[in-house]
Amino acid sequence: MNRRRFLKSMAVSSTVAVSAWPVRAENGAALAQASVAPGCKVLTVEQAFLLDALAEQIVPADDFPGAKEAGAVMYIDRVLAGNYGRFYRDRYAQGLALFDTASDKRFGKRFVSLNSSEQNQLVKAMDSGEAGGIEGKSFFSLLLRHVMEGYYGDPQHGANRGAASWKMIKFVG
């Protein structure tokens, strides 16, 4: 996506799922993949792209935003950088790596390079334990919890932008 289309998609809030962390698509490739992602404290660029893709599988965009656009990466980064992050940081580092290992094994590609249907297939396999064993299954449960917390939680935590999910389910608080 070039910058012009990127801005356009932001403006109309379309069904195209844009990332909520301030990556610029036209120079994303130039960012060092191992450096900390823009706007984040813990997640690397590489991890943030991967989490974007996973979040979009967990809550995909339709006429309401998906978890990627709603800010899942920002929420998870806050959790990892927060006072209790030490309980989760290693699990995220290992768990995210498992996704790429499994993806490479099955498709010969990184997870972010798979098409949506391949990604969906791999997430299902991770969820069932088939792709990453007990470790992968357990990490996916944690990830699922965090994505749901962010997406359906209070917008102040960064992953329910514009309270979109609350509008969707008509939650008035």
């Binding site: 599988q57 967990i58 809550v59 995909p60 339709d62 309401f64 006072n83 209790y84 309980f87 969906n120 997430v123 969820d127 699922l144 919890r145 994505v147 749901m148 917390e149 997406y151 359906y152 939680g153 209070d154 102040q156 935590h157 999910s165 609350w166 969707m168 389910i169 008509k170 939650f171 608080g173």
Partner: protein, 555 residues
Amino acid sequence: MANQKVDVIVVGSGAGGGVMAKELATAGLSVVVFERGHVYTTANYNHDELESQYSVPPAYGPSVYDNPRTFRYTDREEATLSYPGINSKYGKTAAAVGGATLAYGAAAWRFKREDFRMKSTYGSIPGSSVEDWPIGYDDLEPYYEKAEYELGVSGLADADPFAEPRKKPFPLPPLPINRQGEIIRDAGRRLGWHPFPPPFAIITQPYHGRNACVQCSWCLAYACEAGAKSGTQITMLPIALKTGKCEVRANSFVTRITTDNQGRPNGVQYFDAKKQGHEQSADLVVVACSATETPRLLLNSANKFHPKGLGNSSDQVGKNLNDHTGADAFGLFDFEIPHDKGPGPSIAFNDWNHPKTRDVVGGGYIYNYYCTLPIEFASNRPPGAARWGKEHKDFQRKYFHRYLHLGSNCQAMPQERNRVDLDPKVRDAWGLPVARVTHELMELDHTIANFVMDKEEQLLREAGAIRVWRGGNGRGGVYDHQNGTCRMGDDAKSSVVNRYCQSHDVDNLFITDGSVLVTDAGFNPSLTIQAVSFWAADYIKKQWSGSAWREGKKG
């Protein structure tokens, strides 16, 4: 802080401790209340699922890293480390001024007559240490009434045909019925059951200078900014403080009860917020720190006079740790059920709590649950339904307002093997051995919960649910309703305190929290803990005038 000797130290400011502080201070005794948690004010209260008592970290303490515990199902396994909110086996009880009552659900039940006479009613139960209480419903009735009137309990007298007789009506009318309540009321009637509005320590009209409930959706696990929920921080402690005889020492963690050269308690050692050590002397010590922390404090207070722990000549301190099983059932509907009025529960049934048929041991009341919140709903799906993806999102959208959650607190059987003791290795931030919790449910506990869930599913189907499923209980673990670790009894060999919550071993030590409950009931315990605390306070006040406990004179 200068150590000026006081009459009474109360350790813990929750349900039991708050009552004790208020009763003794208003009787003219000087009291220091120790509370390890903070003072929270409405500035700290919020409506946010990620900042509730059930979140990580729990909004109202205890602080996560300072307060580990260890947990194991049985003593055949190694206990594993757990932290508040991080490991689900760590109880959710707040550490705050007001204790758990700061953010509780405020259900305010009287136990039934049978609940005090479980062994007589059902006989011995293999594997269980079930016993009768040394006191009964009639002993506590005046104290239940006192608790209801001082807290401001809302409810409707005579609406529950299975309730024990009461001398006075509830001080306040019940919470108004909501749409969920209407649906299960009508369905229940069609089944021949007996619906009624459940009692809550939530005021429904202005009462004692406090404002009425505004019926928001954020109740259980949230502190009440309206001031309608009757936690001790807004009911008991302000009255105690107003006497000028009581001090609440927050952020102060009591590590040991000290004794004199005859082995009688004479004060406590504690750390302040800066982890500086201090001592406080008193003639009488009341412990009310919850069924986990109370036995821990007594065991950590072992000395040459009390080698097994203070008040533990019976070796019963910490044993018989018990908690309710949950019995939840969920229904989906093809019509809208608006979340129109909080806190949520507005109809209950007691038909399956000690049913006359006796086809179950104990049982539990059934009620429509607290208002469902978005994250909570996202994590609850019927078996086989998608837990993520497009299908999950569609479900969330379609059913958030077509959903009904029934809940219950089912009686579980006490077992001696379930216990709190001191972990041999793990220490907390103050260097003290932490509580090691050993807890595993027995088969009968699951049977009782399944019995109640069968009834809930029946009710949901009658109400027109198109899909029904149930929750479950894991292998073990204790949560908000923990009890039983310093049981009361007439026999000093088999119980920790007598009928007045007084230690069998040392006469100037009392315990007034969930620890003294001999058995739990199919009801939330807070009103009973408070009635028992009023009862024990009455005894202390009567005995005090003879100054039996003063200056170490043996009573």
